[in-house]
Symmetry: C2
Subunit: 402 residues, 2 copies
């Protein structure tokens, strides 16, 4: 078996934790498996490097920021190889240049294009554990790039695909994927298996332990993902195309308190209005989530949408700047809202899932602001203060704890 | 003019100092010069990385140690490029892979073999300041290497040679090369110029601000070195093949308190004894300095040599291990000794220089243990307690302060 194992910054945050991860990998290696380890930068080192950069330049050029940031993973992989050597196992660290990890050119948010597998396969044949820097790549100018958020997960999945690995294990500080956030819903249950599509929806909705890009890539290349804890030996959750276990109606409940609702009031009720609004937002690089348009009345209509806390101010600004072009009466923002979603491939063949969710909320006297649905997802926007109560009520209504 | 400027770890030890170095380089750049900057790791970062490594492995593999260490210079060059950007100048950082800096394979003590100059020249044509990681290289296995002690100086000189630079400026925390260590000899004087050979002897004798390897390389490729202060704008000392200024009898006095004397007493007075002794030491990688062999008497002779504090214990051990083979009566070590040397290309054509030195020491009532000379150098071994007094006496005797 060839297994790619990815450990995040917390898991390698101290020399002691690095030794623990090394032991864990060696255990698997001694069973005869080929092991490729992908690491993030140690704990707080990323923040420290950003802070250092800002001391010489408040807006550091992205190319140089990537040169600086890539040192973080390089420290991790060297330390891990040293720890394994101390435990009597041959290991070798490789950075993005050595692998090589070819990416697109955008510094800070590059995308993986191609991975050369020769060097890694050669080292594996030599019975070494291969330790690869996550998050980083090299572009066509022979410059370092970084992959942006969730980058190390993406590196691990891409490596698993390139090497035709039998599995890609993503180690986190939780035991796997749960039916809901256990901090919010105390009787949330760990899922044994989940489909890529369900995982994608959960990731988008803020409940995911995995980043969307890595799940998309895993789906595209059929890489079996295993989300498991770096702190214990519990089995984790398997993410794959088709799950064997009896299909549940829904797989999980996700809560995203990071949502803001922005409303444009009194837009002219003529064709092309919605296009103009969202075109302007897209060009300003603002991610829009749930969209609701009121039915026209008296020749005007309202458009509301949700975005996350980070983008809300930018969205307001760009909409204000374009007030003349868009011709709305007023602009409104509501920050104390939350999205609660249910996700499940099972709902495709089961009508009435949405109704059941609404009933659960009604029974709790929780008012729904907006509704949005997809084939395998129902999302409602509610007041933030009701979010945890809503999540528990919905979780119970679908019997997810059993 | 194309100028290579090298700044050590102290000069880039804090964000403020990095900004200062950036300003200094930009000043020169704005005069129309092409600037290549070579940097060491920031201040204490090397020690911190070594400490980190030892927390997972008391004897870290050298290959991985180099992977870890090279992150130090990478942080420096990224920070410098950011600082220059903040000051409105286009700059680009390059690491050993990007340049590329080809070295021999030995991790931790590689030697530069070849430098590709295309990328650097291309960036210079684009009117960018090019900032290169010192100390590091890449070997034929596509692995990071480091150059060992004085590595960043060597990188700078090698780059100056490869790029046919007009000068290679080595910035330090002193104003240049002095006739003696100003902390020991208060009226020591800064030299305007010095030859490669004199500088080599001064470096070997522990008085040099430059490492031997970099001076040797500068001599080999005819690179004009300038040793100058990173703290002020004073002119520094030029190191080159031939000096224009009126030749002084000697250029400087060097003191090395880091010397130990080891004596083998009662060796058999037969051919091949000295060979065996120093062959054994060489194979144990022990650098031997001054050697003195007594005239044989009663069929036995003594051999004494000096080595530095770091190697003395190893030397004693290897000699004890080989006692049977070498057949000496006893082994003696004297640690409180110092070497005092005078260096000067001028002494080649002036007999009596050594005598003048001995006279100065005699006048101070300082006893000489051992003597060693070369064409442009006279070294004496004396008691460590007399070292500073000896240096001042010799400095005065040759009128170096004038």
């Amino acid at each position: 078996m060839l297994v790619v194992k990815k450990f995040g910054g917390t898991s390698v945050g101290t020399p002691e934790r690095i030794i623990n991860v090394a032991k864990r990998c060696i255990e698997d290696y001694r069973k005869g498996n080929d092991i490729v380890v992908v690491l993030s930068a140690m704990g707080q080192s990323t923040d420290e490097l950003i802070d250092l950069a800002h001391q010489v330049n408040p807006r550091p050029p992205k190319r140089e920021m990537d040169v600086l940031m890539t040192t973080g993973e390089q420290v991790s992989v060297a330390m891990m190889a040293m720890a394994m050597d101390a435990l009597g196992v041959r290991a070798v660290s490789l950075n993005a240049f050595q692998v090589a990890m070819h990416t697109t050119s955008q510094y800070g948010s590059a995308r993986l294009k191609r991975i050369d597998s020769e060097r890694i396969l050669h080292e594996l044949e030599d019975r070494k554990i291969v330790i690869v820097t996550g998050f980083q790549g090299v572009n066509k100018y022979d410059d370092y790039t970084t992959l942006g958020r969730g980058g190390s997960d993406t590196t691990a999945v891409a490596l698993a695909a390139a090497l035709h690995a039998d599995a890609c294990e993503i180690y986190t500080d939780v035991d796997g994927v749960f039916t809901a956030d256990p901090r919010v819903v105390p009787n949330a249950r760990k899922l044994k298996e989940i489909t890529y599509d369900e995982m994608l929806d959960l990731a988008t909705l803020g409940a995911g332990v995995l980043h969307n890009r890595s799940v998309e890539m895993a789906k595209k290349y059929g890489v079996v993902l295993v989300v498991r804890s770096s702190l214990n030996n519990s089995e984790g959750t398997m993410v794959k195309e088709d799950v064997k276990v009896e299909r549940m109606l829904i797989s999980g409940v996700a809560v995203d308190k990071n949502a803001d609702r922005i409303s444009l009031i009194g837009l002219k009720d003529v064709p092309g209005v919605a296009f103009r609004v969202f075109d302007i937002l897209a060009k300003a690089n603002i991610n829009v989530d749930v969209i609701l348009q009121s039915i026209g009345r008296d020749g005007t209509k309202d458009i509301s949408f949700t975005t996350n806390d980070d983008s809300a101010e930018d969205a307001l600004k760009v909409l204000e700047d374009n007030k003349e072009r868009l011709q709305y009466k007023s602009l409104d923002i509501k920050k104390d809202v939350a999205k609660v979603s249910i996700v499940g491939a099972g709902m495709m063949s089961n009508p009435g899932v949405a109704a059941k969710m609404f009933e659960a909320l009604y029974n709790e006297d929780i008012n729904i602001n907006m509704i949005s649905t997809s084939e395998i997802r129902v999302t409602v926007l509610i007041d933030e203060k009701d979010a945890d109560r809503a999540a528990n009520a919905v979780h119970d209504a679908f019997g997810l704890a059993e």
